[in-house]
Symmetry: C2
């Protein structure tokens, strides 16, 4: 393995000690609160890190795409939830093949969508577990709580499907939260979901799983009675947005981008060899500008083009051509998704190459 | 090959007839204006499309990274320009290996940066061609026109380097242009660069190449006396931003994203299976909101999360779960960079799979 300062740039560094600490702390907190932990693997898309999460006691993994599920199933993960309203007989056939080997569930939020999968499973004499998606305020997919009973009955009665429970993602925390407020959404996702589950049971619908999660909301949601499972993703690496939201400290951030200053063309401006094709254009949430923090500096990445990151140099700081910097990105999931490989570092030494096994599996 | 309606979604469709038309028209216009065409391959990162451009008469290709140069050189392209201020002896050694087999040049905008490459080439008894980068207003990399003579003399005098000429990228056209104005930057990049070249020659510096370009500025710049080479990238596919800028018509857009409506959870909202990991978060430039146009509809993609594209449904339109739509993305280069494969379509039929050969070659 090369020394850290021999790595070519840009390189995506992952501090393995920090990852192990993040994984262990989340697993321990979930055990303490008596909820299952099903980390969202979209953050790392890496078999090695998924196995680390499983070894720490995760009940299974969450993915967003059938293609991601195929990668993790082939890699030995035996319990997967595709937290997405999967639609289409083509996807249904792939799910049918997957369900041969593992415990599998997928999301659903409409009879029309769920029916496309039900048909495939019914024709094969098999049953697919589904979780009804509830919209607790994000305004993306999912049925409103008031429509949950009708939707659960309709989807749960489709031959070929079994309603395992309900799930949600309170992603609006990334818009509404103010810095430092860990779970600053009005009524927490956990409280809303526990109430929805009770309403379904009162209506005669069996609800085995009540699954919630996002890194900022999990600390509060996992302690709510009735929540059975949480699905944080970013916690494994964290990023500038999680720091901004108060989900973590800077010391708990595992992923940085090693970059080289390639140009200092004018006073107050320096340019690194990491642009939007390395860092993504994801903004700092819930507020604040720039495209990443320069570790140990006050200077910020002000603009990105595809291969250039333009630093607005803070008063009293300076950069020189050839110097290396580390960038804490706004959104770790978006960065990982741009790369085939991460560099595992421990105590400042390069330890391993980590493949982003499920990158590009968009279907 | 599957039929178009049998493709799994999301899929990145490329209309080959439109690509061939775009490639032929640009090549013909450059021949007419007497400038060399060196398309920027960062848009497609595909050997097949690069070869198409070469066959149409391109003098060579432009790339942004040494890794991209390695892919195109291995694929048979014998004249490459890395339009980037490459820095570092590690990159220098790879350039040295590359220069064994092809005609090669790289960008430079500082003596400190260029010296890191010069040292490698000098030690090997070889010479690397460099083009000095001039900043014509973007405010990214490059020296100001007033500093060009000093910088050219300093860089050109480094043993191991030969100054082939100057280059620029007037990327501020994406910020300053109003819709319909093809080249709405004050003094055109061509005019500024021709003047810089004359100034260098008056100062005793030989300038063989004066290279400019971007899809919106090329129509004006290629006709300016003294410009020897243009480097448009997006023109091969075009996108919603190029339509917005007046660089092309909708009929000249070759790349669309085929997606499935997976949820219609509320009145006025529909969700497709293409989010920022498929479409990128690149904004519509120079102005206008949303993350892509739904082909044939007035409805727009209003927000993206990683795997969800949320459509604000226009008055009088409707979407149903399972329906397929095509999205014209804001920025074709950013979309291609997220995928391993494009689907080549001709006259509505799937014709070939196009590998994005240089994707992920960030170093």
């Amino acid at each position: 393995m090369p020394a850290l300062d021999e790595l070519e740039t840009p390189a995506i560094l992952v501090d393995i000690d920090v990852v192990e600490g993040n994984v262990a702390r989340m697993a321990e907190a979930c055990r303490r609160d008596g909820v299952r932990l099903r980390p969202h693997a979209k953050t790392h898309k890496s078999l090695a890190i998924g196995r680390l999460q499983m070894a720490a006691g995760a009940a299974g993994l969450t993915v967003a795409k059938v293609g991601e599920a195929e990668v993790f199933a082939a890699g030995g993960v035996e319990d997967l939830f595709v937290a997405y309203p999967v639609v289409g007989a083509d996807k249904g056939r792939r799910l049918l093949a997957l369900a041969e080997g593992i415990r599998l569930a997928v999301g659903a939020d409409s009879v029309e969508g769920a029916a496309t999968l039900a048909g495939v499973f019914r024709a094969a004499g098999r049953t697919l577990d589904v979780l009804l998606e509830i919209d607790v305020g994000l305004g993306r997919t999912g049925v409103a709580p008031a429509q949950a009973l009708d939707a659960a009955r309709a989807i749960g009665s489709l031959p070929g499907l079994r309603l395992r429970g309900i799930f949600t993602h309170a992603g609006h925390v990334y818009v509404t939260a103010d810095g430092g407020a860990r779970t600053a959404i009005g009524r927490s996702e956990g409280e809303v979901m526990a109430a929805v589950a009770e309403g379904l049971r009162a209506g005669g619908v069996e609800v085995e799983e009540v699954s919630v999660g996002s890194t900022p909301t999990v600390p509060r949601s996992r302690a709510v009675a009735g929540i059975t499972e949480v699905r944080p993703g970013c916690y494994v690496f964290h990023d500038a947005t999680q720091v901004n939201l108060g989900s973590c400290t800077l010391d708990e951030c595992a992923l940085t981008v090693l970059a080289t200053v390639v140009s200092v063309p004018a006073r107050g401006r320096a340019v690194i060899d990491a642009g939007s094709k390395t860092l993504s254009k994801d903004p700092l949430a819930p507020a604040g500008g720039g495209f990443g923090r320069i570790v140990g500096r006050a200077s910020r990445l002000e603009t990105l083009t595809e291969e250039h990151g333009v630093i607005r140099v803070a008063e009293g700081e300076a950069f020189r051509v050839g110097e290396r910097v580390r960038v804490l990105p706004n959104h770790c999931c978006a960065v990982v998704n741009l790369h085939d490989e991460l560099v595992g570092v421990r105590a400042g030494r390069v330890e391993e190459r980590l493949r982003v096994d499920a990158r590009g599996r968009v279907q």
